[in-house]
Symmetry: C2
Subunit: 400 residues, 2 copies
């Protein structure tokens, strides 16, 4: 008898463990826990009234939204408009609708990566992306990340000059997950130039890019190149994740292949959600809602940074993120993030994700780092959570 009873599973399944993210999702959702763990929006900020109006509109005028259906053309055009606000020019024919950014990355990776093929990712990378590539057992080539300027593009160049031809380079240009940095303009330009010269596509994950807290925001790499940069966007962060709608922007010639993979995957993206989001955008609320979220998240970011400055008991390094929803904290080498989490969860009811969970080679790098999310909680709760975290850290130090 196997662990699954009667049923023999595929080989990969024999080594499967629960992901760090899933563990956290369960632990951190216990009542009373202040969670800085996941990249979640705050439920209280969802535009429920405006969304209800949108749903009413669709049900009254557009019952075909409950049917199967091809991608909703008006939504694609609205995404073209939305992308203009990010400084990206594209055509609706280049917009491919997905069930969120995670699926967008899956579809792109299916399209680009052969089993065992080489890919370039940063040493610290979004765990969800690691899960996407894992089934392909790729040759993972890592590059490091500077906390002020982002991915070390020179290391990418070195790989390419050596003759390595990765299936793609995975990049989070703004509001890096987990390292919270946004790439410098120079690096964006340089990476795009390299990718184009060597014919290596970039998968640009822009899940958090609409939240830039500076006066002037820099456009994502897709703004500099429409041939080699494959852009991944989502409504999960700027509207809500519960509808599962996102998009990718690709050269038009790729959409045919993507539609084949997409149909095999889940037939089509929720038609109803597409039309309801489209109706919501039609009502004109989205730009104001994004501004509202950005202002609110800026306050939350500041609350977290202030609390770090005020309460953090050990010498640590962090940068104030100009985009996104995370702060990345590097603590002294002798502090272990996993151990700290254990103390925090068992005694202080506060959660985060230890840096080592993001290590794309699965080794113990980032073990003295933690990722803190600030979008999910109010400034008051952030302050309270940071005080708990500081106490946990002090307790851990004293217990030695």
């Amino acid at each position: 008898m196997t662990a699954t009873g009667e049923i023999p599973l595929a080989n990969w399944a024999r080594t499967v463990k629960k992901s760090a993210l899933q563990q956290m999702l369960m632990e951190a959702s216990r009542p009373g826990v202040i969670s800085f763990a996941l990249g979640l929006p705050d439920v209280n900020l969802f535009p429920t009234d405006a969304y209800l109006n949108a749903v009413e509109h669709v049900l009254a005028n557009d019952p075909v939204g409950m049917q199967y259906g091809p991608p909703f053309q008006p939504l694609k055009e609205q995404i073209v408009d939305l992308m203009r606000k990010r400084g990206v020019k594209c055509k609706s024919e280049q917009v491919f609708l997905t069930a969120g950014a995670q699926q967008g990355m899956n579809l792109l990776v299916r399209l680009l990566l052969d089993p065992g093929g080489p890919v370039v990712v940063e040493e610290m990378a979004y765990t969800g992306f690691q899960q996407v590539i894992e089934p392909f057992q790729p040759k993972i080539l890592t590059v490091s990340t500077d906390l002020k300027t982002g991915m070390e593009v020179e290391e990418v160049e070195l790989l390419l000059r050596k003759g390595i031809r990765p299936s793609f380079i995975y990049a989070i240009t703004d509001g890096h997950n987990p390292m919270a940095v946004s790439m410098s303009v120079e690096k964006r330009v340089r990476l795009v130039e390299l990718a184009s010269r060597f014919g290596t596509p970039i998968i640009e994950d822009d899940a958090y890019g609409f939240f830039c807290y500076e006066e002037e925001s820099c456009p994502p790499m897709r703004a500099f190149d429409d041939k080699t940069v494959l852009y991944v966007g989502t409504f999960s962060k700027i509207l809500c994740p519960g509808l599962r709608v996102g998009w990718i922007i690709v050269p038009e010639a790729l959409t045919h292949y993507l539609s084949v993979v997409k149909e095999a995957t889940d037939i089509n993206t929720g038609n109803f959600a597409q039309r309801a989001i489209s109706a919501y955008i039609d009502s004109g609320h989205l730009p104001g809602h994004i501004d509202f979220l950005r202002d609110e998240y800026r306050l939350r970011r500041d609350a977290m940074i202030n609390a770090l400055c005020e309460h953090f008991p050990v010498p640590s390094r962090w940068e104030t993120p100009s985009s996104g929803v995370f702060v990345w904290v590097e603590m002294p080498d002798d502090i272990n993030g996993v151990e700290l989490l254990r103390v925090c969860m068992s005694e202080w009811q506060v959660a985060f994700i230890p840096g080592s969970a993001f290590c794309s080679l699965g080794r113990g790098r980032g073990s003295n780092c933690i990722r803190l999310n600030f979008s999910h909680s109010t400034p008051e709760i952030i302050k309270e959570g940071m005080i708990r975290l500081a106490r946990a850290l002090t307790a851990l130090e004293n217990g030695r």
Copy 2:
């Protein structure tokens, strides 16, 4: 330069063509075309008012539905109740929520099939399932299907006795797609017994199983075995497809593995759609709605069968389906379904899917067959469409 411009694709993508299903979806959705092509519900039968109430309820009481979230436990319990109506006993811990049946099949296949592994499917099989297994380049072992009693279980037995151990057997027990047959009770029992004895899982695709037009319906194979039968269900046909919610029922030990694949695929199934469906079911409408659809589809089935009897100009064979939404018509050998479709589309504005499109070995079997759907159109339109089809067939015959 490649066809995709600058970007080198994975090997599989070089051979990709548009699927028959996608071609049809586009052609058949032209205004004026009467479509018997796809397994679509009728937009006019969607319970839009009751669904709006459900959405209002969720938005007013349960805004966390717009957030990411774990599978919605109340919906799982409602599915347990629903399955009881199909004669299936299960626990909510065995219910795994998916973005529709297509995703359910994908998740199961990911879990069971190694690249190049052997699978048992019928000679004529749902194209969507073929798309699911294609990336694995499996060794496809086919068995034939009797039009009155379903899959030839003796052929399965022969394979198993030869020592072949397929990763799974794919079966549509009721309302077969495309062949419209429901398996005899004896065959269900026998297949389950074989699968259990040889430790071979069955993927039981029950997309259409709730539509049984007989007084007494026979339960699916999952009712006879809870260890080796992996059941795939969906709200797409009994409620609407635009929400993308379905479920699979598996031994509890498998759900852990499934949750890992699911998270990597698209994080989670639309939380909002789950809660809205749950609220809709809570309001007590679903059983009556299924009965309503069943009665309506029975009328449509009868309209199609009557039209076949009355108008079909060539000697053909069909059975009156006891379940599902399709009629399978075998015409004389010299009539080619693809050629007939071309005539139908270009001159008669009526669509269907040629039998050869379903051939699981990609060879020209079923070339004299067609699959006709009767759920999408009213009895009047079915009659009109069948008259057009008969005329096209006559024209094709006379043109020779």
